[in-house]
């Protein structure tokens, strides 16, 4: 078991180093640091301002080999080494756009992001699994068909439309929640998060419910279900104790991989609902040519994805002992 975990972590570490190399090529080799500096300080800034800005932001070193240095410094005093050092030690530096420390922006954005993504994740999972179990229970009845049609309808609508329609219907016509905005005061924060969470749950409802329904129907047709019924087990007990438990592996596949991404926020939801989370930070970094922030967010995304994969593998192994043999 330990060897299995170590192997998975080793693969993850190698992948992460590869991702960092790719990031270096994209953000330093393809994008000229001079262009980044020019964009940040303005076209008409004086040469010494450029130079100072590049020094402050760590763009003033040679790319891969420092011909002006000697010994190990030829390779360590370079952008490549600095890039690896910073990313691996989580020293993300300052934003190219407004010079604020990126780690502070991450800290400030994490809670608002989790405020959306965690309830969205939990509610989405509970609603989808519950409805899928329910329709699997009433399979091939009009309930099953009605829910399937609703699922297809919700899957056919673009995510952006949910947001705009949600803001219009729930915020403007029904006037239940504010259309957008954010206030971290615990007494009122739920008022601002309710609408984006509901919109998020609804937009993911169709695909998730259909997926889980298929899993449950597959399990319902298996021999152990027939055996359980033959032994006099009730329908509710069969669904919850047997079908749900045996469907955990594919559910875990879908669920565990999502958990790390809860930290990176929801790009569209945060942007449209004015939530100052990490998703909005990423969108803003893209729009504002804030390369250092964007680099950090891409790196964290990759890191969390790899962590999600490892977590999934571990949860597989825990849920099904046969997996670790593979």
């Amino acid at each position: 078991m330990a060897a299995f975990f170590l192997r998975r972590i080793g693969y993850g570490a190698i992948t992460l180093l590869g991702v960092l190399l790719l990031l270096f090529v994209l953000f330093f080799a393809v994008t000229d640091p001079d262009d980044i500096a020019r964009k940040a300080v303005g076209e008409r800034a004086r040469p010494e301002v450029y130079a100072q800005w590049k020094t402050n932001h760590g763009y003033d070193k040679p790319l891969i080999i420092n011909t002006g240095a000697s010994g190990a410094s030829r390779f360590t005093d370079t952008l490549l080494a600095e890039h690896y050092r910073r990313m691996l030690t989580f020293d993300f530096g300052r934003s190219d756009a407004d010079d604020s420390p990126i780690s502070r922006r991450l800290r400030e954005g994490a809670l608002p992001s989790l405020g959306i993504t965690v309830p969205l994740f939990v509610m989405g999972l509970v609603v989808s699994v519950a409805v899928a179990l329910f329709v699997a229970f009433f399979r091939e009845t009009y309930i099953d068909r009605v829910v399937l049609v609703v699922c297809m309808l919700t899957m056919s609508v673009a995510g952006l439309l949910y947001i705009i329609a949600g803001q219009y219907l729930v915020g403007q016509l029904l006037r239940w929640f504010p259309i957008s905005g954010f206030d971290p005061d615990p007494a009122v924060v739920a008022r601002f998060l309710a609408l984006p969470v509901l919109v998020g749950v609804l937009s993911g409802f169709g695909a998730d419910t259909r997926f889980y329904r298929t899993i449950f129907l597959e399990e319902i047709g298996r021999d152990y279900v027939r055996t359980a019924r033959a032994k006099g087990c009730g329908d509710a007990r069969v669904m919850v104790r047997h079908v749900l438990r045996n469907a955990l592996i594919p559910i875990l596949t879908n669920v565990v991989v999502q958990i790390p991404f809860l930290f990176t926020g929801a790009l569209l939801l945060e942007s449209f609902f004015g939530i100052p989370g990490l998703g909005a930070l990423t969108v803003e970094a893209i729009q504002g040519n804030d390369f250092s922030t964007l680099r950090t967010m891409v790196y964290l995304g990759a890191l969390l994805f790899i962590a999600g994969q490892i977590l999934t593998d571990i949860s597989y192994a825990l849920a099904d002992p046969r997996v670790r043999l593979g």
Partner: protein, 665 residues
């Protein structure tokens, strides 16, 4: 559904985004799109930044809130100074600073005898602010605008040199560095309340710069205390000014708030009748008739609101919907809703029924298509042929249709580069090369030697490159429209869309032919438009803003004569001559002057769009009781759909459960 019901119940079921406790308070609500990058007054330049710096920092001079054309009045200065001629063609302005002006209370100041952490503003604080602009390390975007202050450039050079050569000097706090260098020779503090600015040559326009936050007094204590190191705030995020409002909350990614400054000079008895501290007593009848200004406010002391709160809206649709719900006091109109809000050039009946008011102002701006005047085909090297080609392309563009298609008609078709309210603007002038006429354009093209757009040297249609720096679908449509205007007269125009950086690189290399650009003036003077075409500002030569690279000796001579003159008949004559040159040479195709449409609610009082200046919240007022009543009326929640949905679920589910129990048990 249960979760939804719980949510509705738990959140109080209201779309009001503000605390109930603020309902009856004099709070003004506004929104912003882009987060401010810096509040350092020497650097802040964007609209979002000036919304804060323009209200938190006071200036020596300011614009009269109601007078048009724009007029300067004293702010922190006792009066608007007159120029004094000095030997060698130099000129000086002496500003008398009001006594008793205090900085905002802030921990960067030691406590005074009364226990207040503030201190009086002196002329040295104004000199310090100008020294910061001159300091290349501050990277002020307006460093070039003060170059005519005697010794300004020398001060910059000495600073750079000393910092490079003397590490001990570089380690000193900046105010000590400035003092060691001896300050700017042309910025003289005479005692604590008089500042003299000596200019190396006459420049009447320099006064406008003292109505901008760049020149606000800056406390050295604040710059020293907020250095951004070791967890301390940065001065770019921590404003310590003298203005009518102080920065009470600054979470720049999503909200900030300005609160009334109890130490403001206008609130203190000694200065309470200063021109910048009272509402103008002379009010235009038109402003009253159109409901913009309440005459009862004439002569009353400023400011009127206790707080101005800004919330970030990254998207236009939610921002506009919240404006309609009454949760923002004023705002612009989004393109998607323009036809529903404006009908036949007026507010729609639905908007009128809500008591909303529409203000339309032409911004001091010019949007144009420019030619690279160094290009061998479209520029000066092509001689008369190039000139005719530019004239033909100018006549082929229909600004009116362009505005209708892309901006809901929110613009004034431009005849010259000068917008209304700027000295030299002539509303009756019709530029012969800006009257849309396809046949004439074809004729001009034939005169240029490109009959039907055919280049005689190749036998093919003349191929031109339109280089753009925006890659969005909406922007591309606009560029396509312009390209099609030229294609219809036979030219083969190719759009080369690049990123901003790539475009800048093309400009640096001179590898472009046609481009599209815009300009919003810093101050209301024709010089602030004509300088965009002065040879000394050619981007290829000096990196200046003359992207067209237009160089015309006669134009430059007239520009230098006109540049620093006061607005009189002689200046008007020089401007006319310059416009004649631009009319003929066509380095630009002037497209339009942007119009700002602002919707205001009935409870917002004294809101007059400023155009050139900064949003002056000290003049505005709100009627909170009317706002609270209308917000409640417009936003009563509808609960019945929730019950309907719950009923529908029960109706759908019950038969299934019944069937299940009947058939399976």
């Amino acid at each position: 559904m249960a979760a939804l019901a719980a949510c509705v119940a738990a959140t109080g079921c209201t779309n009001n985004p503000y605390p109930q406790t603020d309902r009856d308070k004099k709070v003004l609500y506004s929104s912003f799109y882009e987060a401010p990058k810096t509040l350092d007054p020497a650097v802040a330049y964007t609209t979002a930044e000036h919304v804060i710096t323009g209200n938190v920092y006071d200036t020596l001079l300011e614009y009269h809130y109601l007078a048009r054309p724009y007029r300067l009045i004293p702010g922190l200065a006792v009066s608007v100074p007159k120029a004094q001629d000095l030997p060698d063609g130099k000129q000086s302005y002496r500003f008398q600073l009001r006594p008793g002006v205090l900085f905002h209370a802030d921990p960067c100041f030691p406590p005074d005898a009364a226990g207040r952490r503030t201190r009086e503003v002196t002329a040295a604080d104004l000199a310090f602010a100008l020294a910061r602009i001159a300091d290349p390390a501050v990277n002020s975007p307006v460093i070039g605008s003060f170059a005519q202050i005697a010794g300004f450039g020398d001060f910059s050079k000495q600073l750079v040199e000393l910092r490079r050569s003397d590490k001990a000097f570089a380690a000193l706090p900046v105010h000590e560095q400035y003092a060691k260098v001896g300050g700017i020779a042309g910025v003289l503090a005479h005692g604590s309340h008089e500042l003299e600015i000596v200019l190396s040559q006459a420049n009447a326009q320099i006064l406008y710069w003292f109505a901008m936050p760049f020149t606000t007094p800056v406390a050295w204590e604040a710059v020293a205390a907020y250095d951004g190191k070791d967890g301390r705030d940065s001065f770019a995020d921590h404003a310590v000014g003298t203005g009518p409002f102080r920065l009470a909350l600054y979470e720049k990614q999503y909200r900030f708030s300005l609160a009334r400054n109890e130490l403001w000079y206008g609130t203190l008895t000694a200065n309470s009748d200063a021109p910048g501290a009272v509402f103008p007593s002379k009010i235009d009848a038109k402003d009253v008739a159109e409901g913009r200004i309440d005459p009862a406010y004439a002569g009353r002391h400023l400011p009127f609101v206790d707080r101005v709160t800004f919330h970030r809206e990254r998207e236009g649709i939610p921002q506009f919907n919240k404006l309609l719900e009454g949760y923002y006091d004023d705002g612009g109109i989004i393109k998607e809703s323009f036809d529903a809000v404006i009908q036949s050039g007026r507010l729609s009946p639905a908007m009128q029924a809500r008591g909303m008011r529409l203000d339309v102002t032409v911004e001091p701006s010019i949007f144009y298509v420019g030619f690279n005047m160094e290009d061998p085909v479209v520029g000066t090297p092509a001689g008369e042929r190039g000139r005719r080609l530019r004239q033909a392309m100018s006549v082929a563009v229909d600004s009116r249709q362009y505005l209708e298609l892309f901006l809901n008609g929110r613009g004034l078709p431009a005849q010259t580069l000068l917008p209304p309210e700027i000295f030299g603007f002539d509303g009756s002038y019709k530029n012969p090369f800006r009257q849309y006429d396809v046949e004439r354009a074809r004729q001009l093209l034939a005169d240029a030697g490109y009959k039907n757009g055919i280049d005689p040297t190749t036998g093919n249609r003349l191929k031109l490159s339109f280089d753009t720096s925006a890659t969005t679908a909406a922007a591309n449509l606009q560029f396509e429209y312009l390209a099609n205007s030229w294609r219809q007269i036979g030219l083969d125009v190719e759009i080369n869309a690049t990123t901003y950086n790539q475009f800048q690189d093309k400009v640096r290399r001179g590898a472009y032919q046609i481009f599209s650009w815009g300009w919003l003036a810093d101050f209301p003077d024709p010089e602030n438009f004509f300088f965009l075409l002065a040879c000394e500002n050619a981007r290829s030569k000096s990196g200046g803003p003359n992207t067209a690279g237009f160089c015309n000796a006669q134009f430059d001579s007239l520009y230098h004569q006109m540049k620093y003159l006061p607005n009189d008949a002689h200046r008007a004559d020089l401007i006319r001559q310059m416009l004649v040159i631009l009319e003929r040479e066509r380095p630009w195709i002037e497209l339009y002057h942007l119009e700002e449409f602002v919707l205001s609610h009935a409870w917002l009082v004294n809101s007059k769009p400023m155009g050139i200046s900064y949003p002056a919240y000290k003049y505005k007022d709100v009627r909170p009781e009317l706002r609270a009543r209308l917000q409640t009326e417009w936003n009563a929640p509808l609960r019945w759909p929730l019950y309907l949905i719950l009923c529908a679920i029960v109706v759908l589910t019950v038969p299934a459960v019944r069937t299940y129990y009947r058939e399976r048990l």
